[in-house]
């Protein structure tokens, strides 16, 4: 199968993730969309590694996974805290930065 198809899939997944981040209000969904974007990027890395026949792309994919795992830990903790204090996980409500 042509590896370019994987790249196209990766672009589609990334766009879905980006749109999800932009349009959804629920922080959990936004979070999942971010994960989708990260994994789309991973897919692109791996595909390009395959196309070019070198391993660095695959190695970077592992790094991204590690970072994504760490990010999930921190991010979920924040979301839980916000939920506890504000009884909501809508990302439009915590706009305290503005004030």
């Amino acid at each position: 199968m042509n590896p370019v198809n994987y790249v196209i899939l990766s672009a589609v997944l990334f766009s879905i993730g980006a749109i999800g981040v932009l349009v959804r209000r629920n922080a959990i969904i936004v979070f999942m969309s971010v994960e989708l974007m990260l994994n789309a990027a991973n897919l692109a890395f791996v595909a390009f590694a395959r196309i070019n026949g070198i391993l660095s792309g695959q190695v970077i994919a592992f790094f991204v996974m590690v970072v994504a795992a760490a990010e999930v830990v921190v991010g979920l903790a924040i979301i839980v805290q916000i939920f506890r204090t504000r009884r909501s996980v809508s990302i439009d409500e915590p706009n305290l930065l503005k004030h």
């Binding site: 981040v21 932009l22 209000r25 990302i91 439009d92 915590p94 930065l97 503005k98 004030h99």
Partner: protein, 641 residues
């Protein structure tokens, strides 16, 4: 002129290091300085004995000065210039200044005048200021003044002289404004300080020019190499020194502060604004004789300034009804005489100093006498409210009378000898200068007789609640001593002290060929004085004096306004700088502040507008990030293509 340069002996006399009693030169200054420090820093606990300590320190200096005079007289003529170097004060590259004193024939007479008259005035002040709450502060300031004045005359270089020069200015400021709760006194103090500053700039510039030209500011080095400097440089230094002298000695055009300075307590007027500080300008010119001898144009300016002030002071003194202001006019006029004499060159220096000494004594006597009268008249200074005081204030009258005869120049009182010598020297230089001297002598006879007549003769015009009485002993004894001084000092200095040969090694002395015989000049000036005195006696003692001043002629009105000196200053200096500062203020407020405030306002407004972009919605930030990323990628793609 060439003949005079050869005889100018200042650079011939070598400075010898101090030995024996002369190692105590610094003590002369340290005593009153310590007194000032104790009285001013000691606070309230020195209130009780402070004034007596102030008197003691100055007396100590006076005694030491007399001992030094005796010792100095016993030395041979050529080695009477004693130098004492305390330490190296300033050293920067090739510029070295020592904290060094120089005691010579010229300084010692000043030291004696300052300490002895100073002591008498301190004692007098014990009585005069007895009821003042701030007595301790007053004596502290007086001691500070004496110390600064001694530094001025004992300095061995111009930089140290400058320290004393500023010190007496400070003391003068503090003492004029001693009763600072009176707005007039506070304003007068400020005025004296500001106008003196103009002169001080002259002195500091003169010192800088000296340093640039000679590389040193030591008296002996500057005078020694004065002949190598160019005519232009010497004239510049001379004129700058003259400016300094004008400020300190209240000479035209910086004269207007002296009359206002009479707001200070009367002992201050006697010590600072009659006997010592205001004569510092004369000292400066005489001390710098090596420069003025070689700068005839500057010396000519000195004569011109002296003659102008001589007339101005005498005319102002003739019209003022305030006894102290009239005396202040007289001081201006008499210092005009000294400045004129100093401008005459080697034929005049000695007489300038001679007149300075006699004037210091009789004018201090006149001021203290005036203070004694004021003391008895509830501090009223208006002579139109006096009259017939000779019977109630006998001692004051007699001593004032002695000083009066001395200032108008009646033989054999001391003023006669000194003034006659100046007029004589003036005639040698130019007939016009001599005539000016004689005329002012006549006016002096007029205004002094007017003062004596209005105060001590005629009918009593006292206010209802005035009970004139003689002052206490502590005030009359100094008066008596000064009165005796006014009688004998001239003769003593001339015949016993031999002032001419005494000062000659410092100032040089040229006996010019006599143009007009001595007795003729004496007769003419005496006749002038007697005519002036007679007119004044008829006008103010025979006729009754109205208690409110009549309108008077235009000259009287002008003289009452101090010959419009203040108006001239206001028009030429104060108002232009006032308007200039208003324009600058406007420029500052509108242009500079406008620009700065505009910049601030623009930033603020821009911030307010830009703040709208920050919605606080995480998703809109994410959108802008995505938008940005898309733009970056598009740009990369386009560039690649």
């Amino acid at each position: 002129m060439n003949g005079t340069v050869a005889l100018s002996a200042a650079d011939l006399q070598q400075v010898t290091p101090a030995t024996g009693i002369f190692t105590l030169i610094a003590l002369l200054i340290a005593l009153p300085l310590a007194g000032a420090a104790i009285l001013l820093l000691g606070g309230r606990r020195t209130n009780r004995w402070g004034p007596y300590l102030g008197v003691l320190t100055v007396t100590g200096s006076a005694v030491l000065a007399i001992v030094m005079l005796v010792k100095l007289m016993s030395l041979p003529t050529g080695s009477r210039s004693i130098g004492q170097n305390l330490y190296q004060w300033v050293f920067a590259g090739s510029f070295k200044v020592n904290f060094a004193f120089q005691l010579d024939q010229l300084s010692i007479v000043f030291v004696l005048l300052i300490t002895i008259v100073g002591t008498l005035i301190h004692i007098y002040s014990l009585g005069y200021m007895a009821h003042d709450v701030d007595r301790r502060k007053f004596f502290g300031y007086l001691n500070l003044f004496v110390a600064a004045m001694l530094i001025l005359v004992l300095a061995g270089n111009y930089l140290l002289l400058y320290v004393g020069w500023e010190g007496v200015g400070l003391a003068s400021y503090l003492l004029i404004g001693f009763w600072q709760y009176k707005p007039a006194a506070a304003a007068a103090a400020k005025k004296a300080f500001v106008i003196n500053r103009v002169g001080d700039v002259g002195l500091s510039l003169a010192i800088m020019v000296m340093f640039v030209t000679f590389g040193t500011v030591n008296y002996s080095d500057v005078f020694g190499s004065a002949s190598h400097a160019s005519q232009g440089t010497l004239t510049a230094i001379g004129l700058l020194l003259l400016l300094a002298a004008c400020g300190k000695s209240a000479q035209f055009p910086l004269q207007s502060w002296l009359l206002d300075a009479m707001e200070g307590p009367t002992p201050v007027s006697a010590l600072i604004h009659a006997a010592t500080m205001v004569t510092a300008g004369v000292y400066l010119i005489v001390r710098s004789n090596a420069i003025f001898d070689r700068a005839p144009w500057a010396a000519g300016m000195v004569i011109a300034i002296g003659i102008i002030t001589m007339f101005m002071g005498a005319i102002i003194g003739s019209a003022k009804d305030d006894i102290k202001k009239s005396l202040a006019g007289s001081t201006m006029s008499q210092i005009g005489y000294m400045i004129t004499a100093a401008g005459l060159g080697p034929i005049g220096y000695v007489f300038a100093i001679f007149h300075l000494l006699t004037h210091g004594v009789f004018k201090a006597g006149l001021f203290l006498g005036a203070g004694s009268v004021m003391h008895g008249m509830k501090d009223n200074v208006n002579m139109r409210m006096y009259g017939a005081l000779r019977k109630v204030m006998v001692v004051t009258f007699i001593t004032f009378g002695a000083c009066y005869l001395s200032i108008i120049g009646i033989p054999p009182f001391s003023g006669f000898w000194s003034k006659d010598d100046i007029i004589h020297a003036a005639f040698e230089r130019g007939t016009l200068i001599g005539v000016a001297g004689v005329l002012v002598a006549g006016i002096t006879g007029f205004y002094m007789t007017r003062m004596v007549a209005m105060t001590f003769f005629g009918k009593a015009r006292w206010e209802d609640d005035a009970h004139p009485h003689e002052s206490p002993k502590v005030m009359t004894i100094p008066l008596v001593i000064l009165g005796v001084g006014a009688v004998v000092l001239g003769m003593a200095l001339l015949f016993w002290g031999n002032i001419k040969t005494w000062l000659e090694p410092v100032t040089g002395l040229t006996e010019a060929p006599t143009v007009i015989p001595d007795w003729a000049i004496m007769t003419i000036s005496l006749a002038c004085v007697l005519v002036g005195a007679a007119i004044a006696f008829v006008m103010y003692a025979r006729r009754s004096v109205p208690t409110t001043a009549p309108r008077g002629s235009w000259l009287t009105r002008a003289a009452r306004e101090e010959l419009y000196g203040n108006e001239v200053n206001n028009t030429l200096v104060v108002r232009p700088s006032y308007y200039a500062s208003r324009v600058l203020n406007w420029f500052d407020a509108r242009a500079i502040d406008g620009f700065v405030n505009g910049l601030g306002g623009f930033t603020g407004a821009a911030g307010t507008r830009l703040r709208r972009m920050q919605t606080g919605f995480a998703r809109s930030y994410a959108l802008s990030m995505v938008g940005g990323a898309v733009l970056v990628i598009l740009a990369l793609v386009l560039v690649r293509l």
